[in-house]
């Protein structure tokens, strides 16, 4: 099975702090990591590769040159190889233009049986790029996959999909695309051999010359949406602390909740 996993480099949300004066993130010095949900998608890919002999796992990332680090990291964890899509022309892309661009890169890799994504990236939280790419590639997509199994015969997958109040079980024909949630499995550490391979790996960087996009459809120009205003969320001005014994604190709280019709 030829598997492609899309991964994104994001700021490590565990290490980000907030400047309460400006309500902005303190980004300086925050390490960049692989998007946590993409780790789960990569683990799904590696498990399928282990289960289906002859499979390969190729990772694709789009970002600035330093995003090469997450591609290398993915190889260290066990991916076969990887590609970075990078170039000034791609800058300012919204989810539509990002999906279009990454779809070109996945096409260039040759026909894939399975394209995997994390359910969303923790910096944008949109969850839109995966289904968008699936459309551009003409693939069926199942979102929020939490368990994936190759069915005998190699023509289809069995997928358990998380919903708000439970789960659904689906059988989906290959080729297809899936977006993956955390429950799908924690990413393995990687073997000594894969770590060595990552050190030596040549990671191709594909830009406009390699992908040959329609220049009207990439970057800011190809993005239907615009950010027109950025502002701090309204600050809560009447925050209160309740003092007293536990019983007094509880009584005050119930009073406040009752006043606001919350109980």
């Amino acid at each position: 099975m030829k598997i492609v996993v899309c991964i994104k480099q994001v700021p490590d949300s565990d290490k980000v702090t907030i400047d309460r004066a400006t309500n902005r993130l303190n980004r300086a010095g925050v390490p960049a990591v692989m998007n946590p949900f993409d780790e789960n998608a990569l683990e799904v890919a590696l498990r399928l590769r282990d289960a289906v002999p002859g499979s390969t796992v190729t990772v694709v990332s789009m970002g600035p040159p330093q995003a090469e680090a997450v591609v290398r990291e993915a190889i260290a964890r066990g991916a076969t190889d990887g590609v970075l899509v990078s170039g000034r022309e791609f800058g300012g892309a919204d989810t539509w233009a990002t999906g279009y661009t990454l779809a070109l890169a996945i096409r260039k890799l040759g026909p894939a049986d399975l394209v995997l994504f994390g359910k969303q990236a923790t910096d944008g939280d949109t969850a839109q790029v995966g289904p968008g790419i699936a459309h551009h590639l003409g693939l069926p997509v199942l979102t929020y996959a939490k368990a994936v199994e190759a069915l005998p015969g190699g023509k289809a997958l069995k997928v358990v999909r998380a919903t708000e109040d439970g789960h659904e079980e689906w059988e989906v024909d290959l080729p297809c695309a899936l977006t993956v949630v955390k429950e799908a499995g924690e990413l393995r550490i990687g073997s000594l051999k894969s770590k060595m391979a990552a050190k030596k790996a040549q990671i191709p960087v594909w830009g406009v010359a390699e992908l040959g996009p329609d220049p009207e459809l990439i970057g800011l120009k190809g993005s239907p949406t615009r950010v027109t205003k950025v502002f701090a969320p309204p600050v809560k001005t009447n925050r209160v602390r309740l003092e007293g014994t536990p019983a007094e604190q509880a009584e005050k709280l119930v009073g406040i909740l009752a006043e606001r019709h919350l109980v």
């Binding site: 907030i18 309500n23 289904p131 929020y144």
Partner: protein, 328 residues
């Protein structure tokens, strides 16, 4: 006349609350824009659900009926929505930010080559530029961003549940407009084998009006019973921080935060949760936040409307007692 469409999401024939909330808010947008408020309904029998959509403000219900619409199947549903949009050309198309809306809308937006904004918490209309102003929390809710879609139509957004109030008007009437969906060219590439509900009412974090969440400050896994007890008393769902999910105290279905679920209930009660940014990102848009924590410097208190510095062990039993007394 230009139109605003709300995708009326039904699951196994049950209309989702967020769709009614969106129609209710859509009335305001209709008033500001002069557009007509309509619902797009994919189901087996649209006539059955239409009256509820009229009651929440739809003047027209575009009903697409087909057996393939009994439950969500992305290939069929996205093809149908695309056909409806291409036939009637609405200016605005809104979806609930549910597991269905957040999958269907990006497929449709990719196909229509138009913009889509995820997880909006405010909507407004600029009458001069005739633009939908779509505001969403960015960077885990620390910044709000207003997004517009200028050159392409429809302007599409998914909108979170529990943000807008439902306004119901009994007996409001409207017109059912049947639309034919041509699914003959849509290949059937996936088959649903089963749909299973898990763990009862207390895991539906997305739909919950009240959520009570527990974190490592509870001290021990068995103390999670305090969280469940208060949630039951308040009629709410049970949430958890990543730390306790990772420690195996409770299933990942309950996890609130950046790597779990993003929630915005009317009331969020955080018990023994310190408030790591990754947790705050998932809940700080909640309407009213109560935090109980031993550490007066815990970051959770910075987003809490009401803070109680104290022991969850001591405070929660008192709370439960008082709520019970109040009901009696």
């Amino acid at each position: 006349m230009n139109e605003i469409w709300v995708f009326a999401e039904q699951r196994e024939g049950a209309l989702q609350s967020v769709s009614c909330e969106l129609l209710s808010e859509g009335r305001e947008l209709a008033a500001k824009s002069g557009y007509e408020l309509c619902a797009l309904l994919l189901s087996e029998n649209g006539a059955a659900l239409a009256p509820e959509l009229f009651a929440h403000g739809a003047r027209k219900v575009y009903a697409m009926d087909a057996p393939q619409f009994a439950y969500y199947q992305n290939d069929f549903w996205s093809a149908a929505v695309r056909q409806a949009v291409e036939a009637r050309r609405p200016e605005i198309l809104l979806f609930g930010a549910t597991s269905i809306g957040r999958s269907l809308a990006p497929t449709v937006a990719a196909a229509l080559h138009t913009g889509l904004t995820a997880d909006c918490t405010q909507l407004d209309f600029d009458p001069e530029r005739k633009l939908l102003l779509q505001t969403r929390p960015a960077f885990g809710g620390n910044i709000m961003a207003t997004i517009t879609c200028e050159g392409t139509r429809p302007q599409m957004a998914t909108v979170r549940g529990n943000v807008f109030k439902k306004v119901r008007e009994d007996g409001a009437a409207g017109e059912v407009v049947p639309l034919a969906a041509d699914l003959s060219q849509v290949p059937c590439r996936m088959r649903r084998l089963a749909a299973v509900k898990e763990g009862g009412e207390d895991v539906d974090l997305a739909g919950a009006k009240t959520i009570v969440s527990g974190g490592r400050g509870l001290g021990a896994p068995e103390k999670f019973s305090l969280v469940r007890e208060l949630a039951a008393e308040l009629g709410g769902a049970v949430g958890a921080s990543r730390a306790v999910v990772d420690a195996g105290w409770i299933s990942a279905l309950h996890q609130v935060g950046q790597t779990g679920k993003t929630v915005c209930p009317k009331l969020y009660v955080a018990l023994g949760i310190s408030g790591a940014i990754q947790h705050l990102a998932g809940m700080q848009s909640s309407d009213f936040i109560v935090a109980v924590n031993k550490d007066p410097a815990a970051p959770i208190f910075e987003v809490a409307d009401v803070g109680i510095v104290g022991d969850v062990d001591a405070v929660v039993p008192e709370l439960v007692k008082m709520l019970r007394a109040r009901r009696a």
